[in-house]
Amino acid sequence: MSRPATVKNAETLRDVAGEGYKYGFVTEIESESAPPGLNEDIVAFISAKKEEPRWLLDWRLDAFRHWRQMAEPHWAKLRVAPIDYQAATYYSAPKRQNAPKSLDEVDPELLKTYEKLGIPLNERAALAGVAVDAVFDSVSVATTFKDKLAELGIIFCSFGEAVREHGDLVRQYLGSVVPPGDNFFAALNSAVFSDGSFAYVPPGVRCPMELSTYFRINAAKTGQFERTLIIADKGSYVSYLEGCTAPQRDENQLHAAVVELVALEGAEIKYSTVQNWYPGDAEGKGGIYNFVTKRGACRGANSKISWTQVETGSAITWKYPSCILEGDNSVGEFYSVAITNNLQQADTGTKMIHLGRNTRSTIVSKGISAGRGQNTYRGLVRIQPKAENARNYTQCDSLLIGHKCGAHTLPYIEVRNPSARVEHEATTSKISDDQMFYCRQRGLTQEDALSLIVNGFCKEVLKELPMEFAVEAQKLLAVSLEGSVG
């Protein structure tokens, strides 16, 4: 008679792993799309569809001309299948007669989609205290709480509406942090962006609720190119949440967004992302290419920008939310959790550019690799000559689950002022069999044990998220790692 002391577990795990990606449904809605391909006519088509002023069309065309001269970046530690930019469709909008005036007029199919995603778009929103600007493919569908925010002078609306209603503000700040020719994907976005979110918080106002945008890519073969611009005027505060899901499809979809943040004197912006785009299946088929440029400028003295991201989805993630610390005493923060499971790849990190005196930055990055996932932290800390007494603290921790995955840490540090203090700490660890056994001996299932250990590893980042997001993120971590041990 022969019997191993432990059996069982593998099967239990497989059962759970079968649960798969929960947001892989497709909404059947007639959409109005541009023909596939990209040229100046398409750019003009998008601009015309959105009834944009001439200056914006010119801005787009300028970006397009930049883009045509540029090449895809290949310095990241990523293997990307060739992208045919002429095969994609650059504009897709749900077809409708007139713009909805209230939620009652919104297509019920759309509302159902949001319900499945758990977005509090209706009255529940009030209880949850979340104002949602929901972006469905390219057009912003409904914006809640606008009136309440308007009383405080806060503008929170779709990007398209901002162009129409607050053109001067948009014109003043658009591209001021991420110029149209900044990089290949930012230039592409600048040429063809179709919608996104816009927020402006006036001087001295503390935004009383978390502003939230849910992005969702629905139509097949559509790239989503949204554009987010947030301006916190002097002495104001705003916290912004961004959540992302996408349907399950076999082909890869491109997502090239641009986010620009501007914090004026004494202002603070907190930007939190939970990214759960479809990661592709276990064999690496399908999934989102998430090539995103996010950057914030601490323009005024004593301003602060804090990025927090939990990246669990996408086949490939290429993003480096960054801070330009121009104002004296300004503060930049970057808290990140990135998970790669199965064949997912992530090359992510941040750039902290210190220009002003006494500027401080903190980087805490937690990379988790499982399956055959490849996870790279790439971060730049640059202290410019005028940045007296600049300080940076960087901590990069990698956690490996299994023995076919990879973790890489690539810090770049450039110091041009001798008064700077820059600290960098990095660790790599494996979840030990002893830790798993200890948890299981106390009665936790294998899945619960893994979730507990991983959440402990990510704790310093998760605690930066707003409460309701933190709970969602914890669940996502567990779901993303299902089937990775056993």
Binding site: A5, C439, G443, L444, N455, G456
Partner: protein, 249 residues
Amino acid sequence: MLEIRNLHARIADGREILKGIDLAVAAGEVHAIMGPNGSGKSTLAGVLSGRPGYEVTEGSVTYLGRDLLALGPDERARAGVFLAFQYPVEIPGVNNMYFLRAALNSVRRARGEADLDAGQFLKAVRAKLKLLEIGEDLLQRGVNVGFSGGEKKRNEIFQMAMLEPRLAILDETDSGLDIDALRMVARGINALRGPERSIVMITHYQRLLEHVVPDRVHVLSGGRIVKSGGKELALELELTGYGAYGDAA
């Protein structure tokens, strides 16, 4: 409660460590298993608790009428088997209190009891903390992270007191404890003694047995139990040492 018959087990490199263990522990009994280093004490604890890395090649273990070896480690735990680790494991970032509550609620659910809410849990925790003279600050730290050797062992006994297992296996819980900590740990174990509960204490030394008096003492040597007796056997061992049992294999 626990019946082990002709148990043989080997480790990954193929070496057979347990070479036919027979042991019966009735409900309410405390058994001490003593033996020299390398006699198979920790292997026995590992096999009973389902630690990966051991293969049972022969024999059976019945626990409360069930085939214990067919259960995964977490299933055994939820069925009431507790192992106090010789080397408790650190889990950074996981709050000790949170960990304990997750463990307790999973065990309670298996027993058909409702989860404890935060208030009830805290009340239960405070009572047990007092018994073991553990400060509340220990609960707010990461699981075993930065604990002294003595604190780790006391934390094990504290977890045991909270989880109220039917069968507790203590693997060298007394090693590395000073006399005060030993007394506290012993108090925790004694408080758990009861007609419905069995305790298996694995130890190298006799000194824990002065504080927790066993019903039976077994000498393990060369992967077999070579002698069994009452509590006086432990005293005898203290005088003669394990030399007499040498490598009985």
